[in-house]
Symmetry: C2
Subunit: 328 residues, 2 copies
């Protein structure tokens, strides 16, 4: 029997999840839930209903895992514990500083109702977290480095768009090649976030706006840009729409550690991803973990879980023998 | 209570395991077992007995996890099932083609006696296997690439040493930079093992040996070198001992895959390691998994396990809350 998936929220993440489910032979999409008028939401899968989220409780016994595609700022802190009362749920909550609080809320709701709530699934938190944990377990003595990009920072793009005279803007966070090289060399440099990244902005001006003033406001903006090496390009709207509508992203996780009785041997572990579509990659991670949620639930596990709790084989549709034969 | 570790076999791997246990606050070394005369084996940890392997059965209730440090060709196929009758065991069996057979033998012995036998722990098989499984789960459509090196191939070094006139030799397997670049570019090249690696030999000749003939025998050797780009250097014994006694190794695992309704988005996942000491890194992996073996045994799990069965958090001494706070 196929795992029955529900999707709550139909933006970039919801659409990515839908495509990943279409391609998974062991899963089927049962329903998409939306806060909008369902009549106005067109999905890709034929024959699957789009339902108002106000009616979601009627679907409690028809769905094995509900994928929550809301945002971390205001949606998920409410939705994940709430829907964990009715469903096994999975989210991509990514506010690192509030994960323990979110964990506690989801754990309580999921244990009381007898479900699994898996949180913070994606690539950071998610795959990058896994790599930090594996590498720290193996090299207990060492240093961790995480770099983000090249990719769009939504918060920094918004900050540029709020400047008077700016019609549209995208800000790319770009890892600094010399910082990457220093880490790879094993020299264990001390690097702050600003030592590791540069910020590149592509800006479309309103007609008549003063480019010089806008550039000054960007590069001097406290917290966002003042402490970084920031590059500003002014481009026209056609170029902006043509070149800067993509959702590419990526990043690097390193651990540089030592072994030996006198720590005389150096080891470097490097993990990196380069993504054409951040939301589609993220939802592919989520769909793999939805498979694991179903299996862990069937085994009797309950409560809040993270990627750190999941045996890797649970992510795969293949049997243990197939995995051993092909991948071990 | 600390996890009580036994080590069977005291070569490079056994010594690496001993050092890793010394540095793990939640573990203690109980005994080292050897086929040699115990009186002639000097270990690093004070107060820990070196015991003849013929007496190992007397230690059955004094050890939580026995680490098997023998070779995959003849030692482990016998030792792992045999000692799984008495202990929870862990090995680094790395003959990929025979892993399913080894799994079946260890599973039978471990289930009959009520133990866990964890096999094929290290970096390939081991960490590289994990990365292949994670990446295949997340990107079901795509191609896998594994590169080895730069590091010493024992089998190829042995083959060169068997040539008449060769006094000593080391063979390094080196990933080809242009093949790595092609994979990173996302062009999904078709690459055989020989397209991905070059072979570099450092050879010390016997006095009066004919260098030209030796070089010809190396580069034309079927299976080992004939199909590769092979570089041969003749050096003197001093240089050999000074420059080529290290145990550095490394490698790369890639998955290049697509998402999107028409597979229009490309994603590349890259994992790599660069190691000063292959045996010490390998034993650090083994020690992390020994921690997991203890925990899985205490939970009631039995039989043969691999790295694919282990939740990442089980590798760490930290609590779940600490892991979430620091690494997620």
């Amino acid at each position: 029997m196929k795992t029955r998936i529900g999707i709550a929220g139909y933006g970039n993440l919801g659409r990515g999840a839908e495509i990943a489910v279409m391609k998974a032979e062991d899963m089927e999409l049962t329903a998409v839930f939306t806060r909008r008028d369902p009549a106005g939401v067109q999905i890709l899968t034929e024959g699957v209903p789009v339902v108002s989220i106000s009616e979601i409780s009627e679907w409690a016994d028809k769905i094995d895992v509900l994928i929550l595609c809301g945002g971390s700022a205001t949606d998920l802190p409410v939705q994940t514990p709430e829907y964990a009362k009715l469903f096994n749920v999975i989210d991509s909550f990514d506010t690192h500083a509030r994960i323990l609080e979110h964990f506690a809320n989801v754990d309580k709701a999921a244990k009381e109702s007898g479900h699994i709530g898996m949180i913070s699934v994606g690539w950071d938190p998610g795959l990058f977290s896994l790599n930090r944990v594996y590498a720290n377990a193996i090299l207990p003595q060492g240093k961790d480095y995480t770099f983000w990009g090249k990719g769009v920072s939504q918060g920094h793009s918004d900050a540029v768009r709020r400047i008077k005279g700016v019609k549209n803007a995208k800000q790319y966070t770009i890892p600094l090649e010399e910082a990457l090289s220093a880490v790879r060399s094993g020299s264990d440099p001390e690097l702050s976030t600003r030592d590791k990244h540069i910020r590149e902005c592509f800006v479309v001006l309103e007609e008549g706006a003063d480019a010089e003033r806008v550039e000054k406001e960007i590069v001097e903006m406290p917290n966002y840009f003042a402490d970084y090496n920031t590059i500003v390009h002014f481009i026209d709207e056609d170029e902006f729409n043509r070149e800067h509508s993509g959702m590419a992203h990526g990043g690097f996780v390193f651990r540089s550690g030592t072994t030996g009785i006198n720590n005389e041997n150096k080891h470097i572990i490097e993990y990196s991803i380069k993504l054409d579509s951040n939301p589609e990659f993220t939802t592919n991670v989520i769909i793999s973990y939805a498979r694991a949620v179903k299996r862990m639930y069937d085994e009797g596990q309950r409560g809040c879980k993270t990627v750190l709790d999941v045996p890797p084989s649970y992510l795969c549709p293949q049997s243990e023998q197939e995995l051993i034969a092909h991948f071990l």
